[in-house]
Symmetry: D2
Subunit: 495 residues, 4 copies
């Protein structure tokens, strides 16, 4: 006789070799699903009792065993065995051993297909919330650091070439704004995934008269996913969507990391990293390598790789559960772990960074960062912008040739060039020219740009948004928590 | 002197070879952006007039030229020249030629960076709406076909193995439900992207006193994107997000296509494709190949490839505009085109499909699709489900060995097996056994599964949802349309 | 004072948090590199002695400690500590503790950059050889099974539609031929990677007078990689190349797996899997799911994902070592493990497969698989092939309409259709028509196709090729083994 | 009656909509295949004549029409029509119209499956050769520029941090060495793909007595691909392999481009780009943007995306031809075009680059690039390297704190630090300290690194290798050319 719970029609069992191949890392990852599997089973069994499919005593027996399984797991003593394949059959076998014949009814009106789907959605809800929480925390650190450095001049870039002067506050708050959009995506993915597949069974529902709404409610889902086949198919879909969002989020983290790698090198010289965030070389005594940022940059790529792989898995199968789906799980877990740890580290790195404003102003000046201001000044004198651009361009060219800075340009030069290019005499004051070519004044003049009041306004807006996202998150967490408590109370009442 | 509008500081111009390399397909794609570029310029110039940066007459002159450019474009006569690099400079050069010196002011307080960002967002809004529209249309065809075939029996699969009987209505409505989630994602991406970058200029805003809210309003944006650097950076981000959603949507289309390829082959034999959706072989006279579905399946993969490529481009650059961003455009356009044409074709294929219910029932029976019903029947007699599963499993095994169908199993056999496995005598009626083993009755018994009432309920729910999504879409389109009209009226008033 | 071996210039050390982030799974994977790191160090130290950079006694002391480290590792007792970052510093610290001051010289003229590069290339050589070995073994099983089933009829497909009859031997030997090309790629990648980076140091070689040829020879490398910067950069390149080849190989494995999933379902019904390669369902007692093949199909996708990720890592950095490179290692190891275990399982599955020729002939007949033969028969009567194709096509159409098989077509019909379509009277014998429409005879008639003699010839050719590849492999393994022995003898002599 | 050449069994034809969907860009791309299709058909028909399957006159008629088709194509007058689906049926229909009834025999013993496979392999051979040619040309430019700048000091990097001084020659020759490995891969892929699939027909060969060796020889293939099914399946495989190699090659081009983007910015300041390889900004008059290099960097990513997409297409189908395969063609063509144009542009950019050695030496000094030399100097005094590393590290730390350069370190300091760290008195001469800390001398001291003699040796080696690769390439091209000539002569003789 087969020891497999599903062995009825089989003459042979899968060899250990096959079981090992099938599981690979799956069983180890399933460790993390034990509490979700137990919770899902509690709700299912409570419902089976409510629907008179199980006797009260049977229900109590099973719940008792489930409570025990969870306790053992919390103590690190709940062992998952390979011959039981996965978390579901491991828990079921445990309950069977503890709760006797009634336990054999707990799988009524359920399949591993809807079970794993429930487990993973509960896991995913928590994971998305945790990721959102960490992202909000990073946003807060960025915003805070932006506030502290709202007026610290920094070159702004286009094409990796100095474009116009901005400020550290302006730069960091741009990243913060961008990350808040990722939080929004996480919220939306959470809402999409928070529907209950339980009762979908293998793919076709069941002839048992069960109450899908009740289990959905007991587990804190927003709603029941009506079409059972869709409920099963979408296991994979929600995982793939999550991996896609993690790819997008981690690309942003990797981009920030890469930017700091550059900005903290001596060539740029804008940022000094904390010694604790750097490592040395085994051979070159002078090295201070931005190890953790390089790794953050590199690791992000793995999640994009995971996304294409997971999407291919979703796509190349036909409707209904396929074992292929199991293989998106390690990619989801890995992606979450990589993003989570990067989200934890980055705020620490940002807080320890020291900015070298002197060098940043120097780079602005070396690169004629105020040339646009010069063109705008000329344009304000009535010269069409295209002509003014040409005037400023030829002044820059002269500066390059004569190795001068823009600050050394005289009123006379400006007037002469304008005459030569646009054929028009203009009046330019010493003061207004000096203002246009002064990096700090130029920054302030950009009232809808890096101007300090504007940056403060932007920062205030971001704080507000981050606060709202935080409240949304709390509400999501609370809803799940309350359902859990309610289920616990119900379980206790039944014991 | 440089013919380039930006040539002030340059001693040499890019060679034609370099311009061609830089552009590749870019200029050809920019064709599609002309009306958006013109519209953006209209709004910008109206605002410059409002803010007293341009004179009324200058505004009128530029608007007149823009209106002419648009007219020429509609007539297919607006030529984009390589030496003008892109749509922006082509339009600007046209206006310069027509509107004289005032035209040279139209680029005041603007950069190509915010300009391309505006163009692409307006394009993207329309493209996302169009994609949503086509997806809703496909959902409607699926739902309608599901309704017509709500009771047509079909095998339901797990592991590409017959699992339980379902219906064509159940199967198609699962795909419809899944696609509606993609519509939701498109809506959310639309909302995220519908913010105005105009006024962000190169990346740092401007010292001109402009009115960013006014241009946002004139162009139908929901809001202004406050941080100018973020506004520039996110050009790429919104494109990548859209490509990601298209990858997800097209994977679903490809999956459906692949499923129909299989189901329409003689081995499955569930579906007969319309002759007009098949092609023949140059050598084998009997062939009827599902060409277009194979191609749909294959083409979907390109979009996943585009996603990783686009994300890599977003990630490997530093903050601010980079020419790298240009390269996400062809991938966005290609992805939209592939998804759009597949969305158009698939409904046609679905409508022409004929279902072979006889074959589908046969496959159910050959594969013991009612074995779970048998187990459930035994379980209802008080045998725990795990034991009942074993009973049914061993009956299946006997059938396999004796090449019998499940329908041939007798009450006696069921009783004996139950006795042997569970040690218990049970009472089973001829009628209830026959019901359990009858494919159609089993389907009806699954009241939360393929049962016809349930499928009708599901279909009604999907229709309602599709209707709501349709209304949301109309509202989005209307908002954009109204802004456009208003802008047109304003332009007319200024001419 | 820093405990870090490179801590000279640092005021603070990386926190445990940072070290953990940096390492992630790296240290655990480095376990597998210990013997390579020790071997590389042995060769380096022997060379330093030879070049008079280390004293004889110092050399002996270090070698003794290295031998001990290796012994401990074999016994599972060599612990890698996080605070020592990686395998290199762990081994070095061990040697420092054992061998005293002389040990502090072992890192002379070496950097972790060339060290890790050496370790990984030695690992990669072995891994590529092991993969080649397993692939050859799979080829042999395919070829053997092909031989056993050289005449078993099977439908050949195009467009997932029956095309023409072939044989199981023909089908399996096609897969074998294809896999042999992967073995060739592995050989070529081996040759490319088998060059010594040792002595490249950080990236610029060294001012010590070392002997790079000697270490290359001692470690069994074919040659020295001359440009030190290239030697360091290519660490990543060889890993990426290997992952790319593994992606290609595993796509083939996944494709075969997917094909067997289909062919072993009842709808096709060509193949019966061994019970030991299937699993059951927790709910549906009749299920026999091809779990391990589904997983093989799915897992293959991960390697393609790894490839894009690894390539992105290689690309987005500048020349010289970057910590980013560390992140390709887990992807390489994972890819090797997935491919390796799939290569081990697949032959077992193939050997246990049973073919159902009756069903396969039935499917050929149901699908008019001999229609091309009919067209060819008509063409041989002097009718141009295009016309003959049309004749056969219209006969097929009639059969479809009248639900007849091609075998039921009469000589009269063929003549009449030919007359109608081509306007020509032809003579067709009963016998030749029957032969053309007989599946087995048609197979035999394809003398350059599935004809049994041809298949046997193909199989003989594949066996020969596989044998040659096996010999090449042995030669590669032997070369490495001999270098290792020689190094060991030299080490012994120095102790 | 169907107008389709394969329409026999069909009651309806594909609508224009379906044909357009199926083709998309396929027909336009097929333009490039016309000469290959014609050549393949010539060889096939010559062989059919030789094998007495076609009459001499029929052969002549068909060849005449093929020659005409080719001539028209050369004149840009051979139109491919959508209703003829692809290049093959377009050519065949043309021949049918010209050559009368004999033409209807030209498709005997052939299918579009082996035909497209032949066409693509001939195309691919040429394309791989062209890519190899351009890569060798780039290598030559890199090597030449390396030679011209063999002694120009440049900082060498690890972790994007200055590591040790190297030279421009050393840096560029590393890239050249790396690119030569790509040429080797192209050679090997060429050899793998250069086998003839002709005669494989649909997938099962044919019952016609044809001569596969003859067509292989006439078309310049190295050998016949024996297993017909493998011949058909591998169409896709060779395309995927080629795209993979192009991904690898273009990642290297993108990496070089990205490096030059950085090195040519003012922050690094190592390189001045030619004005003709830069563009300006529409708003910022001072900008000199490295447009074409950014685009090269970005475009490379598309090929990696193409690779995963193409591999997915290969994998998700079953054996035999599938229409999915058509979709790898545009990705192959696009990848070739991107790589080809980048390979053409990059040498031009490299040749126009000007190096700023002053700045590069400055960066070396600012970053203590000679610290390893200092450690080595101390180590040469008998201090174990690990200790010496610590000595140098603490000296660097002092320099950082006191904002001094390494060149300002005194003998006294070195001695004191060594005493403090290692507890040992050492003797250090003024001269040897100065030498160690002098960037140029340090470079020269690295005799197996950037030392000028070594770089010259490396360059000589690269030139030799590039020369050999060039000869291999010529031989491949010649072989193809000779076969072509021979076929032409044979055709002429038959006309």
């Amino acid at each position: 006789m087969s020891k497999m719970l599903w062995g009825g029609r089989f003459s042979k069992e899968p060899s250990r070799h096959v079981l090992e191949y099938n599981s690979r890392e799956n069983l180890a990852l399933d460790e993390q699903l034990v509490p979700y599997d137990v919770e899902g089973s509690k709700a299912h069994v409570v419902m089976l009792g409510e629907c008179k499919i199980m006797e009260k005593e049977e229900v109590a027996g099973v719940l008792r065993a489930l409570v025990e399984a969870e306790k053992l797991w919390r103590e690190g003593k709940f062992e998952l065995k390979l011959e039981n394949e996965d978390v579901h059959l491991n828990v079921e076998k445990f309950v069977l051993a503890k709760a006797g014949s009634g336990a054999a009814k707990m799988h009524t009106a359920r399949s591993r297909n809807d079970q794993v789907s429930v487990d993973l959605r509960m896991f995913l809800r928590d994971a998305l919330n945790e990721t959102a929480e960490k992202t909000i925390a990073l946003v807060n650190v960025l915003v805070e650091t932006a506030g502290e450095n709202a007026e610290v001049i920094m070159p702004g870039y286009t094409h990796t070439r100095v474009a116009q002067p901005v400020t550290v506050g302006f730069w960091l708050s741009a990243h913060a704004a961008s990350l808040l959009r990722e939080v929004e995506k996480l919220e939306q993915a959470h809402a999409r995934a928070n529907t209950s597949p339980l009762g979908a069974c293998a793919l076709a529902g069941t002839s048992w008269k069960i109450d899908r709404k009740l289990t959905a409610e007991l587990l804190g889902f927003d709603t029941v996913q009506e079409n059972a086949l869709d409920a099963i198919d979408s296991r994979n879909e929600f995982e793939v969507e999550a991996i896609g969002l993690l790819a997008s989020l981690s690309a942003k983290l990797g981009k920030i990391a890469g930017e700091i790698v550059l900005f903290s090198g001596s060539e740029f010289g804008f940022v000094e990293l904390g010694d604790e965030h750097a490592t040395g070389s085994s051979i070159m005594p002078q090295k201070k390598n931005p190890d953790c940022l390089e790794i953050m940059r590199a690791r992000a790529n793995r999640i994009a790789g995971n996304f294409v792989a997971a999407l291919a898995i979703q796509k190349e199968t036909i409707s209904g559960y396929n074992s292929d789906f199991q293989e998106t799980k390690p990619m989801l877990f890995e992606s979450l772990e990589i993003v989570g740890s990067s989200l934890e580290l980055l705020p620490e790195v940002v807080k320890a960074m020291k900015f070298n404003e002197g060098r940043m102003i120097e780079v602005c000046e070396e690169n004629f960062a105020c040339a646009t201001e010069l063109a705008d000044l000329v344009a304000r004198k009535g010269i069409p912008f295209r002509k003014a651009h040409e005037v400023a361009g030829s002044i820059v060219r002269e500066c390059v040739e004569k190795k001068k800075k823009l600050g050394e340009v005289s009123v006379k030069q400006v007037k002469e060039k304008t005459k030569a290019v646009a054929g028009v005499e203009i009046n330019v004051g010493e003061g207004e020219l000096a203002s246009a070519l002064d990096v700090s004044k130029s920054v302030q003049a950009h009232e809808n740009g890096p101007n300090s009041n504007n940056v403060k306004k932007i920062i205030a807006g971001l704080k507000k948004q981050a606060g709202e996202k935080g409240k949304n998150l709390e509400a999501r967490i609370e809803k799940i928590g309350k359902a859990k408590e309610k289920l616990e109370r119900r379980v206790e009442a039944l014991l």
